[in-house]
């Protein structure tokens, strides 16, 4: 009896697999193909890419920072005169500071305020130094750096005056107590 070919194909679909491949040969090819093409999994390459990126970025940033840290310009690097001027001012500051340091009283609000101003000025000086590194021979920056020493001397002078004032006030108070 005749039947539609499409139906026969569907019915006999599983019985159509009549032939056997050269199993040993094909399997050998598969094994060698897998060994040859055996590649690392995708996640490995992702991790490797992230690792390389992090290492390169760290190296780049560290390199940038170390370069910035190594090349620190002072006024002496710009000219000998400026260097001498800075050195003289620095010495004056140091001498005055030694004088102040010996007689610094505890817990005087006015003196604490002036000390805080000195710290703030040091921070400002560091930023001037960075500007000098970036801009090199920049007149306003150079002037600001020299002004720093002069301002510092003025603050230290005020500190000395405050200390003197304090010294005068203390005997009077002792006298009152007596």
């Amino acid at each position: 009896m005749k039947k539609d070919l499409e139906k026969i194909l569907l019915e006999k679909r599983l019985k159509l697999d009549m032939e056997e491949p050269e199993n040993d040969l094909v399997w050998e090819g598969i094994r060698s193909g897998l060994q040859k093409k055996s590649k690392l999994p995708d996640w490995f390459w992702k991790v490797a890419a992230i690792f390389i990126f992090v290492v390169s970025a760290t190296y780049f940033i560290a390199n940038e920072r170390s370069q910035k840290q190594v090349v620190v310009l002072t006024l002496a690097d710009i000219s000998k005169d400026l260097g001498t001027q800075e050195q003289t001012l620095k010495q004056q500051v140091n001498l005055k500071w030694e004088e102040v340091e010996k007689q610094l009283p505890d817990n005087n609000p006015e003196i604490q305020f002036l000390l805080q101003q000195l710290n703030d000025m040091d921070a400002i000086y560091n930023s001037y130094q960075k500007d000098l590194n970036r801009t090199l021979d920049n007149e306003p920056v150079i002037q600001a750096m020299l002004d720093y020493y002069e301002k510092k001397i003025r603050i230290i002078n005020r500190l000395l005056m405050e200390i003197e004032k304090q010294k005068q006030v203390e005997p009077e108070m002792e006298f009152e107590h007596i």
């Binding site: 009896m1 005749k2 039947k3 539609d4 070919l5 499409e6 026969i8 194909l9 569907l10 006999k12 679909r13 019985k15 159509l16 697999d17 009549m18 032939e19 056997e20 491949p21 050269e22 199993n23 040969l25 094909v26 399997w27 090819g29 598969i30 094994r31 193909g33 897998l34 093409k37 055996s38 590649k39 999994p41």
Partner: protein, 195 residues
């Protein structure tokens, strides 16, 4: 053929994800015959079918970690084999059959003896011309839609449809001719399979 239960097949697939060679071999033994015959019907050539079988298994084992549904390994592998066959087909210049005498409709010519030998069907599919053979296998045996076949082979949906009807009629004619000759006393089924 050793029948592997669904559960143990899932286990084998999981082991394959860890590159276990024994599991790979077991899965190969389980599926090689079916996949080989599919490739053989698609290509009509033994050497090409074996090459496709080899490449398809290599791809499957390399990419098995991407397979989320481990129960679907068989269907997934079948798809890989079909895709490899289609890639191989694309390299050939397909010459679609011109048969003016055969209409694009269902006719009595589509009918074949119900008791026909499956071996003869397999042998005759292999003998179909390039193009017709792939379309017939994809549609009648692999369940692809005409639009999908057209897209895969780079032809229009209507061409795929027409060629399918023509391929089916041609196959029916070939099978009936062989059957008639057999009735006339020749043992041609065996010869056809061998051929």
């Amino acid at each position: 053929m050793e029948v592997i239960s669904n559960q143990s097949e899932q286990k084998l697939v999981r082991l394959c994800k860890k590159n276990d060679a024994k599991a790979q071999y077991k899965l190969y033994k389980q599926y090689s015959k079916g996949m080989y015959n599919l490739a053989l019907r698609m290509t009509g050539d033994q050497n090409e079918a074996e090459d496709i079988l080899q490449d398809a298994f290599i791809k499957a084992f390399q990419e098995v970690h991407k397979l989320k549904n481990e129960k679907a390994f068989g269907g997934w592998l079948r798809r890989i084999v079909v895709n490899h066959c289609i890639d191989s087909t694309r390299k050939k210049k397909l010459v679609f059959i011109e048969m003016e005498k055969i209409k694009d409709q269902h006719t009595e010519m589509d009918g074949v003896e119900e008791s026909i030998d499956p071996g003869l069907i397999h042998a005759m599919i292999k003998k179909l011309p390039d193009g017709a053979r792939e379309i017939l296998v994809l549609r009648a045996l692999e369940g692809y839609k005409h639009a999908e076949i057209g897209e895969q082979l780079g032809i229009s949906e209507s061409t795929a449809k027409t060629q399918y009807f023509r391929a089916k009629q041609l196959l029916a004619k070939m099978l009936n001719d062989w059957n008639n000759e057999e009735r006339s006393g020749k043992n041609i089924v065996g010869e056809a399979i061998k051929a």
